[in-house]
Amino acid sequence: MSNYLDLSIQEINNLLKKKEITPVDLVEECFRRIESNEDLNAFITLNKEQALEEAKALADVEVDNLLFGLPIAVKDNIVTKDLRTTCASKMLENFVPIYDATVVEKIKAKHMIIVGKANMDEFAMGSTSQTSYFGSPRNPWNKNCIAGGSSGGSAAIVAARLTPFALGSDTGGSIRQPASYCGLVGMKPTYGRVSRYGLVAFASSLDQIGPMTRNVYENALLLNAISGHDDKDLTSSYNQVEDYTRLIGKEIKGMKIAVPNYFMSDIVDSEIQDKVREVIECLKQNGATVDYIDIDYVENAVTLYQIIAMGEASSNLARFDGVRFGYSAPDAQNVEELYLKTRETGFGDEVKRRIMVGSYLLSGENAVTYYNKALSIRDDMRKSFRKAFQTYDLIIGPTTTTVAYSLGQDLDDPMKSFMDDVLVIPVNMAGLPGMNIPIGMNQDHMPIGLHIIGNQFEEAKMYQLASFLEKELNLDLDRKERS
């Protein structure tokens, strides 16, 4: 049985160009892998028939780019035309969109093939993917453990090498944290770098789509493909798209790196701290300087996040009312009852909790007391990051405080999932790009990740450092043999 999908992207591309393999071979292999890993519960919807058809249609198309013909998984909160998009919710269990998200148009333009929709936390609300209406995805490194969230399905898919590529979304760490738990490369780009058009909104001022991949180079390639201004998203940036692979492989000598003290405080497992310190040593040995600094308000980031994200979410999710699309309670006698029953049964507990808290936070005077104040502290935090980037090229630290933990653990503690994201949330609050790369294993052989934070639109520099460490650490992260 062929294992083309284990090859590097350049090798696959050469084979495709020489017509030694076809996109159909890749898609068939991909579905063999998916079908033998059903226990991961990483997909909500498979797109087998359509994917094979698209692959066949590529037979006579010129292989014009490195992503050509490659299978990709798309998080199920990114709308795909004619392909069910559920947001892992009963509310959208049977929702088939009539349009493609801008990112979906972009990957289709590269002739990538969408093989399915990845499992996630319901409406991306959670950090374990356990709030999914379709059950939790599992971590390929230990199937009794969470894959993280909310892009847990996307992370599990790439970690188990079911596809080389996945798209995730990150509102408060939802790409980077599962990437850390599952040992892969995940990038949350600068806010505005990638169009949000077609991303079902959770918290509009924080949401951002990003690539999740096996390695750094492929991550940068996928970011190249999905970036750019979009007239359909007013918050998307006019900042020119550059080739994000351009600094990959360049030496890091002279690079100035900062580590926020808070990121290495005792909220982080010592095993993880140790791994990060090893990395810091390695960077120093290779000519980088590393300083410990303070960033204002990072310790308040979770609180700020809860106020802003839940406030916005309570409004964004108001449209799910049973009137125009999605689940509609069948036995309502009047409009009031339709709303109540639809939303009571259509949403899961975590979503309802966040809508209620969010509504409360925006009510009357609370909007001033909480929401407006949160926005202003967020500005101050932004300024503090900006100040750090006047001196430093990059900021690093651990991505998570622990490694992936057992499924079902602490499910009844609604604060727990927020605390999992304490290190990644500040990046969303500041609108900065952040990424995870794997830097090793703990003693139970679960992945540990490094968090790299860049200044606005300096993703290329982040990939430079990431690729250096990837090469230096030379980790074997292939989970195929174990699964």
Binding site: K232, T235, S315, A318, R324, L362, Y371
Partner: protein, 471 residues
């Protein structure tokens, strides 16, 4: 002490744009239900708003026309509430940074001019239209997302006449500046009126009368509402803050709902739309595009001796009024307005044409008016050549030649004709000498008949009187 009435008015106006406020769907009236709709208007998951620059420009124009201060850095806010006609579960509006504030509209009252303060004017999107039938409720999303401006006055009006004059004036301004159709019957202009009465300085509790269907009904509704409130106070009762509507058939306002205290719309800044910044240049260029407004035209007409009736008629006939704007200052505007509203309007109505579609350039029109003013031609001649002037690219002189209507100004020729007429009409001459003025008119008529109206009437008149006195 008498009760003092206090009135404030909120007007919603649909902007005359091609597309909707936050989507590229068409903005139109009266088509098949749910045909001008896209995923943004339906609040589809993943859809995001875009901004209609044309709508911003029209709103800016409105703010300028209403003498407002402009918010140069403005954002949008979400107003959250559940209703089936509200697709997203929130309305995008401007709660904190309305495009215009602190404006005014000047109205005429029996006591002179009065400024009605404009508290603010803000941009928002319209809701879908609910149609309730016996069995079900239907929704038409054609209207969902149509750009609106809401214009909120200060509580500056004290009589129903002032309220009506305000709405009338506002409508005229918005129509003139091409901002809105302002069709109250079709709902492109909607008026909510707040009414309270009080015997003291402190304002009374107000009632809001929603969506009144015509300007005359605004007057009627206010009158009935004031009567209702007076009766309650006189009977020792208290007014509660409530929303009412005017029932035309019953001829009174009826309760819709009592206002809940602190209606909680959970406003917050719309995160999908960044700040909109209006530059000084943009504001200036919009200012330049504002047509000359009715009050300016009225003042000009009055200063040039035009009657109030003609002035009003011209203001109501926008194309003619615009046409006249191009004319020179030292024109006889009395003759010009008579000509435009009389013979020219008759022709345009008959031919279903606009003045700008005819061959009557403003220069030709000026020359025609000048010749009438100097009595070089008579209105009879004007009538004869007018159609040619409107339809052919010929000058007034050319038209007169074509019709052999060049005025006879030669005194010798005229003297002969006048002498002949006097000879032939000795009876009238006698009448004239006996003091009968009619005789002079008769003789003039005979001369004009003889010359087919080509005799210069001024000269003829002088000659005739001179020769008669010599008889």
């Amino acid at each position: 002490m008498e009760y003092q009435t206090t009135i404030g008015i909120e007007v919603h106006c649909e902007l005359k744009t091609n597309t909707k406020m936050f989507s590229s769907a068409k903005n139109g009236y009266g088509t098949t239900a749910n045909s001008y709709v896209n995923i943004i208007d339906l609040g589809y998951p993943g859809a995001l708003p875009i901004i209609n620059k044309g709508a911003i420009e029209l709103a800016l124009r409105a703010a300028l026309v209403l003498n407002c201060e402009i918010n140069k850095k403005m954002h949008f806010d979400r107003k959250n509430y559940f209703y089936p006609d509200l697709p997203k579960g929130y309305q995008i509006t401007q709660a904190r940074t309305p495009i215009g504030i602190h404006g005014y509209v000047e109205i005429d009252t029996p006591n002179g001019k009065k400024k009605i303060g404009i508290h603010d004017i803000h941009i928002e999107e319209d809701t879908a239209k609910s149609i309730h039938t016996a069995e079900s409720s239907l929704l038409d999303f054609n209207r969902a997302g149509v750009p609106l401006i809401e214009i909120v006055t200060e509580p500056d009006m004290n009589t129903k006449e002032e309220a009506m004059a305000y709405v009338e004036k506002l409508r005229e301004l918005l129509l003139y500046a091409n901002i809105s159709d302002c069709k109250i019957e079709e709902g492109s202009m909607r008026c909510d009126v707040n009414v309270s009465i009080s015997k003291t300085e402190k304002l009374g509790t107000r009632a809001e009368i929603k969506n009144i269907g015509s300007i005359s009904n605004i007057g009627l509704a206010i009158q009935k509402e004031v009567e209702r409130q007076q009766e309650i106070y006189e009977n020792g009762g208290t007014i509660q803050e409530e929303t009412r509507r005017f029932d035309e058939k019953k001829g009174k306002t009826v309760l819709m709902r009592v206002k809940e205290t602190g209606n909680d719309y959970r406003y917050f800044p719309e995160p999908d739309i960044p700040y909109v910044v209006l530059t000084e240049e943009e504001i200036e260029s919009v200012k330049r595009m504002i047509p000359i407004l009715p009050n300016v035209r009225r003042d000009f007409y009055k200063a040039h001796g035009m009657s109030d009736i003609n002035s009003d008629k011209l203001i109501q006939n926008r194309p003619l009024s615009d046409y006249l704007l191009k004319a020179k200052e030292n024109l006889d505007y009395v003759i010009a307005s008579n000509l435009l509203l009389g013979d020219i309007s008759a022709y345009l109505n008959k031919e279903h044409k606009e003045i700008e579609e005819t061959m009557l350039t403003i220069e030709k029109f000026e020359s025609l008016v000048d010749k009438l003013a100097s009595k070089e031609i008579t209105s009879k001649i004007e009538k004869e050549i007018l159609v040619d002037l409107l339809e052919k690219p010929m000058s007034v002189e050319e038209a007169l030649k074509e019709h052999h209507l060049t005025l006879v100004n030669d005194t010798k020729v005229l003297e002969e004709i006048v002498t002949n007429i006097i000879k032939q009409n000795q009876e009238s001459v006698q009448d004239y000498k006996n003091g009968k003025d009619r005789a002079l008119k008769y003789l003039m008529g005979q001369i004009m008949k003889e010359t087919k109206g080509t005799a210069n009437p001024v000269l003829v008149n002088e000659l005739l009187i001179h020769l008669l006195n010599e008889e």
